[in-house]
């Protein structure tokens, strides 16, 4: 699939879809995923009951690819078990890395399988995988913010923040 078909058939439609774009009431898991270099920022929320993802949604801003990927992912995992969701994550990453090529495996991803075409624009792969990384970490119990590019040691662990009439070292 070339970039034009990817955009016109998949990305544009799904990035504007609103049915998965909402906070989840009574969410058991909530994690914000950001790509600082491009400004993609999504908060993924879902509710797990008896090991089943009974509801999921996302809020945030970003490019069409990151937004479409999040929506397609939520379509796929809603109503599925946590283990099934992890299975889909493995297939998705395998597909993106080109390690999984078999159609019958990739077809398990349903409409999200179309994102295989993102390989034609390597610079945008990080947009396509953001929501999936965020889901993976949220399923592992992480909450808060997941920053996929930040250094663990910014300025020896400190930052500068406005404080009243001056700047102070935190």
């Amino acid at each position: 699939m070339d970039l034009k078909s990817l955009y016109t058939q998949i990305i544009t439609e799904n990035s504007r879809a609103t049915h998965n774009r909402h906070p989840v009431i009574g969410a058991t898991n909530s994690l914000e995923g950001i790509n600082p270099s491009c400004g993609d920022d999504i908060t993924l929320q879902f509710k797990v009951e008896n090991d089943i993802i009974v509801d999921a949604g996302f809020i945030g801003t970003g490019c069409a690819i990151s937004q479409a990927s999040a929506s397609l992912m939520i379509d796929l995992i809603k109503g599925k078990s946590v283990d099934e969701a992890k299975h889909y994550i493995d297939i998705f990453f395998g597909m993106i890395k080109g390690e999984i090529k078999e159609d019958e495996v990739i077809d398990e991803l349903e409409d999200a399988a179309a994102l295989q075409g993102i390989a034609v624009v390597p610079a945008r792969v990080k947009c396509a995988v953001l929501s999936w990384h965020t889901l993976e970490e949220a399923l592992e119990g992480k909450s808060g913010v997941s920053d996929h590019e930040a250094s663990e040691n910014d300025d020896a662990g400190s930052s500068y923040e406005e404080d009243g009439d001056g700047l102070s070292l935190n």
């Binding site: 970039l3 016109t8 990305i11 544009t12 491009c38 400004g39 970003g62 069409a64 624009v121």
Partner: protein, 406 residues
């Protein structure tokens, strides 16, 4: 007149396709004259300057010092010793912040910068303010992206010790009123640090006429190799500033427990320098001067006007800052409806057009403009009307792919 033939990377590939390179504000491409100068240095003249007594070392030293004289001429510094070679603008600005800022800014003093500064002229000052318990204050533009004399006079006060500002914003592309900044800053005894990274590619920068105290630019934005750049500093200020990095070549005498330092500029040039790059930088300046500012400015101004006129035809295109071509150099930042800039850049890339998308290392300005990011098209002396036409066609393509304007 097209200078494209001087730039090998801009030529057509084996399929007859050529790159429409419009990300010049990030870095420019290199003419053969620059590539040849670098090759020639390493082929014929390479030795460690200032260190050997043999003939080859003398030649390398001459090239190093001639390049300094060329940069001094380029900026119209009053003497070559006011030019310190750096890796780029960022290193030059960090040098001023660390050396001058950390020594001469104290508790309760104020540092004034503009909200449209590149992070390289912002984060170093944040750190100086933090370490010295000084106050960092921001100059804000009007709706049109222009800074007024009133705002400048108000924000710079008797407590201001440093005013750091870009001559041309790397996002808005507007030429800032440096004369007004300098007048007010000097009235209160503050020094002016000018970031010339986005002005030096497009206009004559004369540090004496501007009367600034420091000025920084990058070689790689003026057709010279990456890893080259310079800081201009008024000699009397350089003399009273402590060294930045220390080690070899920046010393006068070293004893076990005491060192005396060399005079400027060598006081600030520790270690072996990028002389091959400096040979390329001098060649780039010669190249620019051989074409002449009149030709460069008239070519780029024509392309700028053509692009702005074309962009205004699309109702979804939002241009940031005053959208006229007057007082604008090199850069146009924009968004297309609610299409994310990275989608715009990907679609343009599929059409063979390279533009920048993102926050352009100016996040406080993005916040001020209330956007996350934007697209930026930027011109250089080799761009053509055909490049602008293909860029405008690419906007059409973005609209059609993303279902706008249909």
């Amino acid at each position: 007149m097209s200078l494209m033939s001087d730039f090998p990377i801009l030529g057509a590939d084996e399929n007859g396709k050529r790159l429409v390179y419009l990300d010049n504000a990030a870095t420019t491409q290199h003419p053969l004259q620059v590539l040849d100068a670098v090759r020639n240095y390493y082929t014929c003249d390479n030795a460690n300057p200032h260190r050997g007594v043999y003939e080859l070392a003398r030649k390398a030293t001459d090239i190093h010092e001639q390049a300094r004289a060329t940069v001094a001429r380029f900026l119209n510094a009053s003497r070559p010793e006011e030019i310190i070679f750096t890796q780029n603008t960022t290193e030059a600005l960090n040098l001023v912040a660390s050396s001058y800022g950390m020594k001469y800014v104290g508790e309760g003093d104020e540092i004034v910068i503009s909200v449209s500064e590149h992070h390289s002229n912002l984060v170093p000052w944040q750190r100086v303010a933090g370490a010295r318990k000084a106050k960092l204050k921001y100059l804000y533009p009007g709706e049109d992206g222009r800074y007024t004399g009133e705002a400048i006079n108000e924000i710079i006060t008797e407590k201001t010790k440093v005013v750091a500002i870009a001559q041309v914003s790397n996002v808005l592309g507007l030429v800032n009123p440096i004369d007004k900044v300098v007048r007010r800053a000097h009235e209160v005894g503050a020094v002016v640090v000018l970031d010339c990274a986005q002005s030096t590619p497009h206009m004559k920068v004369d540090v004496q006429a501007l009367d600034v105290d420091f000025a920084a630019f990058s070689g790689h934005k003026i057709y010279a190799p990456m890893g080259t750049g310079a800081l201009y500093g008024r000699y009397d200020l350089l003399e009273k500033m402590p060294p930045y990095m220390s080690g070899g070549d920046m010393i006068n005498q070293v004893h076990e427990y005491k060192t005396t330092f060399a005079k400027p500029p060598r006081k600030f040039e520790a270690g072996t320098r990028n002389v091959g790059g400096e040979a390329g930088l001098a060649a780039a300046i010669d190249y620019i001067e051989s074409i002449g500012w009149e030709t460069i400015e008239s070519t780029e101004d024509r392309l700028m006007k053509l692009a702005l006129d074309g962009m205004r035809e699309f109702p979804e295109v939002k241009i940031y800052g005053d959208d006229s071509s007057a007082g604008r150099k090199g850069v146009i930042s924009f968004n297309i409806g609610d299409v994310h800039p990275h989608d715009v850049a990907s679609i343009m890339d599929a059409n063979g057009v390279a533009i920048r998308a993102g926050h352009h290392c100016a996040q406080p300005l993005m916040d001020f403009l209330k956007i996350n990011s934007c697209c930026r098209v930027s011109f250089a002396l080799y761009n053509t009307e055909d490049d602008v036409k293909i860029f405008l066609d690419s906007i059409m393509k973005v609209r059609s792919w993303m279902g706008l304007g249909s």
